[in-house]
Symmetry: C2
Subunit: 246 residues, 2 copies
Amino acid sequence: MQRITVESSQFCDRTLTLNRQQLHYLMRVLRLQGGDRFVAMDGSGSCWETELVEGEEGPYGRVVLALDFNRELPISLTLLAGLPKGQGFDEVVRQTTELGVTRVIPVLSDRTLLKPSPNKLQRWQRIATEAAEQSERQWVPMVERPMSLAEAIAAVSPARRYFCVARGDRPHLLRQVRQDVASWGPEMAEMAIAIGPEGGWTTAEVEVAIASGWQGVSLGQRILRAVTAPTVALALVAAALESGLD
Amino acid sequence: MQRITVESSQFCDRTLTLNRQQLHYLMRVLRLQGGDRFVAMDGSGSCWETELVEGEEGPYGRVVLALDFNRELPISLTLLAGLPKGQGFDEVVRQTTELGVTRVIPVLSDRTLLKPSPNKLQRWQRIATEAAEQSERQWVPMVERPMSLAEAIAAVSPARRYFCVARGDRPHLLRQVRQDVASWGPEMAEMAIAIGPEGGWTTAEVEVAIASGWQGVSLGQRILRAVTAPTVALALVAAALESGLD
């Protein structure tokens, strides 16, 4: 069933008022008609199966049933990612949303080449919304404004924070997360992961992070692009949390 | 150090004859000069640190030392991937090369929308070569011609073959690979993974694969795009092989 994201304020009892853009998408793009059903999600954990009704005063949605399924990770997961060049961050937002990220902080690191234009943030948030719909999530991740690594480090507080370093002899992220999940169990409610930009974090950045309580980890033997590394990290964390510990 | 892929036949003793394209890349694009060094890899497991020499009869390479490092996975890994729409397969080849794939077979599944044009294969092989250089691998993966799922199933023989299915209650790929690695140990030399196209494999395709000895597996709770799923699968297998079993 097709999915759209709506605001909670659009619901009144079991009626969902649809705005012009949503009606266009449902009726023109998806070609739904009165009686057809779609999933309306509020982006904060709730979804409803909804029927399109062609009322006398125009089309609206009628909630048929609250959907009770969960594709979310069992923890809240913040990603700090160095801004790669070009359109690379679009793909980072899209893929990590598919993999369950909760919050994305674009980081202007020492090796970041370009400052993003202000409308980028809007674009990334739109990509996150679309990707959350496509991957059938209940939550739409929040994309924060770009900030320096120092600011980003100050903005996240989880007890478990992993700082991915491309070269050197750090423990593997998968091994580290599995160990931490085993020892923390359900008490682990939040996690943060940081991935460098093209060329990796500078030595100074790694030192600052480690001194701030981040655990240095590796994503494996090969050198990954800045676009690929966040996807790999999220895939490993999601699998460590969802695949069980045997 | 910058890397280029060369043919084994270009070496004679410690001299590397460079063709016009390679010389252009080294001297015009990378702006190397006589005395500068680069890494020449033959794409089949060997790498040499090489010095550019501006000889009387033109520039050539002189092998300084054979490089003995290994970023390759401990097994040979074949990926069968349903062709996604648009340019999506470029990204599949690029990211799975970064993650250590050995061989890529594009699959024309029941849900594949387009037949690729003949020059696509050449393009994908070029992307694999570039990605292998960037991720500092010793092997360049082989991209095969697109084939049907039945042909692809007949073309791969590893004892461990995983067929990723988007919905349903299959064991998680990470859990399955870890179990298999634990029970097979170093006897596991080859592995194959199959990932569906947009919309997933059809029920008939899943049944054929299972009947042919493939193990049905899941990549987690969320619905992944056809471009993201191969990266996730490769990330999990690489991590299961490289992170140790504790």
